[in-house]
Amino acid sequence: MATSLKALPAERLAALSGAYASEMRAKRLNTLMFGAAIVIAAIASGWIAEVNLTKFVTHIGAFFSYFDRLATLDTGARVWTDIAEWFWGLKKWSLLLLDTMLIAYVGTIVGALGGFLLCFAASSNLMPNWWIRNAVKRFLEFCRTVPEIVFALIFVIAFGLGPIPGVLAIAIHTAGALGKLYSEVVENIDMKPVEGAVSSGGSWPEMIGFAVVPQVISNFASYTLLRFEINVRGAAVMGFVGAGGIGQDLIEAIRKFYYSDVSAILLLIIGTVMIIDLVTERLRHRLLGAGGQT
């Protein structure tokens, strides 16, 4: 083949490609075994989970039956034929939604601050001390594993009914969830800027502030806003502490089979989610900026 590269002596080439192949073989074998493990685990899980594809295929038509009912008013007419009737509770729901967003806001802020403060100590590239790192990791796991309901109950006993215990429970769970997600972002950063900051004698917090945060801030923002969204939708705890919220109204409508209410509330929530997503997108693209070009 015509090539502008000078050909290599055959034995040298054989030696080099042999060395490369043997180094790669180990890696490839690892990948293969990993893939095989996933497939086997998936098959086993499918068996435990009673996956039944025939049933799935024969009844897939029923997938739309619930949607069909969601699009139907009590009167039997389609929802869009009578928007006023469909969104009869718009004012109530909007207020509830705002209310819920306020609760989610406080819970998310407090939790995100907690997760932010802890995530660096849980990252292997910034916290070489095994003990501290693992202690923080286990603590974060504790925060997100103990059900919000249990925290809420403890706080209800301590502080009484009302939004406060719910917000606290949300905040603890949020700290545990975000702390973990944040720390994984931190473990994936480019270490060059970190070296830059460290080499001039910057302290640990300064290194974080100048070299790490600018790299991770956009991902942090995306996780935080997703969590905010989850907390807005989350109904269970707030209902549990007597603070209601749009989530509880939605669950109530689902359970009582007020189909048109379900679809109306759902649309409100989806609208909110979209707005949050659009805001996140703008925010993140600002933070990411033009990106390196040179």
């Binding site: 083949m1 090539t3 502008s4 590269l5 000078k6 050909a7 290599l8 040298r12 080439l13 080099l16 490609s17 060395a19 490369y20 180094e23 790669m24 070009q293 040179t294």
Partner: protein, 273 residues
């Protein structure tokens, strides 16, 4: 014949390249010189179409390069290999795969996505690596290499593209004298033997004079010099590097001016050859 007609590029308010007019013969060895920030990298990136000109037109033999799209654009890029100033390797992939990136356009997509490279491609890639003493690093991750090693991988990637044009953005910045010679010589050889056009951003005027058949001097985005290596007079260099205005830096007195002036050199041993 590669023709640039009134090519400009702005970044926001800043004009990085402005109204560049050039015609380049096939098989030329072009040195692009100029101060840091003059727009050399931007010019090369526009030829490879990594960034689009804000205005103007780039054409090769009547093909309007600046209007190419899709497959044609990819083929154009495959035809003009780029060696980046900052290497632009994929740090998490091994060295050989990084070099094999240069052959993407020649391999069916489904094969490349599965990383099923043919033996021939691997042989070509290893040959390129070995040419720059990097054969034994083939299985190492690219982000574990020293600066000069990364640069050599980047050069190998460009060569395995078997391009018609090579756009080399300071290909020897991080290289020691021996590797500098290796690299410049192989660029020179493929230019001479295979008629491949080479664009090379260089900071060393001596190297530029030694290797390039034609020099293009840029300043603040404009071409301010265009001529043979021996047209680059003192005055031109003065203007190019903005040294005419009172030079604010004082020179360490104890050093012989002539020595200070020489910026770099291959070890004298070579000069004796």
């Amino acid at each position: 014949m590669l023709v640039l007609e009134g090519v400009s590029r702005r970044f926001g308010a800043k004009s990085a390249v402005e109204g560049v007019e050039l015609s380049i013969e096939r098989g030329s060895f072009i040195g692009v010189i100029g101060r840091s920030g003059a727009g050399k990298s931007t010019l090369l990136r526009m030829i490879n179409r990594l960034i689009d000109p804000t205005s103007g037109r780039i054409a090769l033999d009547d093909v309007d390069v600046s209007a190419l799209r899709g497959k044609e654009l990819r083929e154009w890029r495959a035809r003009c290999a780029m060696i980046f100033q900052q290497f632009n390797l994929v740090g998490r992939l091994d060295v050989l795969t990084n070099v094999l990136m240069g052959r993407l356009n020649k391999v069916p997509t489904h094969r490349s996505l599965m990383r099923l490279w043919s033996d021939e491609d691997i042989a070509i890639a290893l040959t390129a690596l070995e040419q720059f003493d990097m054969g034994s690093f083939a299985a190492q991750r690219a982000d574990q290499l020293s600066g000069g090693q990364q640069q050599r991988v980047a050069i190998a990637r460009a060569l395995v593209q078997e391009p018609e044009i090579i756009l080399a953005d300071e290909p020897i910045a991080s290289l020691d004298p021996r590797n500098t010679k290796l690299v410049m010589d192989s660029l020179s050889r493929i230019n001479r033997d295979y008629g491949i056009t080479v664009f090379c951003n260089l900071h060393s005027l001596d190297l530029a004079r030694a290797y390039c058949g034609r020099l293009i001097g840029m300043s603040q985005g404009r071409v301010v010099f265009d001529g043979g290596p021996f047209d680059l007079t003192e005055d031109v260099a003065r203007q190019l590097y903005g040294l005419e205005a009172g030079d604010v830096i004082d020179m360490p007195e104890e050093m012989p001016a002539a020595v200070v002036a020489a910026q770099a050199a291959t070890p004298p041993v070579l000069a004796a050859h």
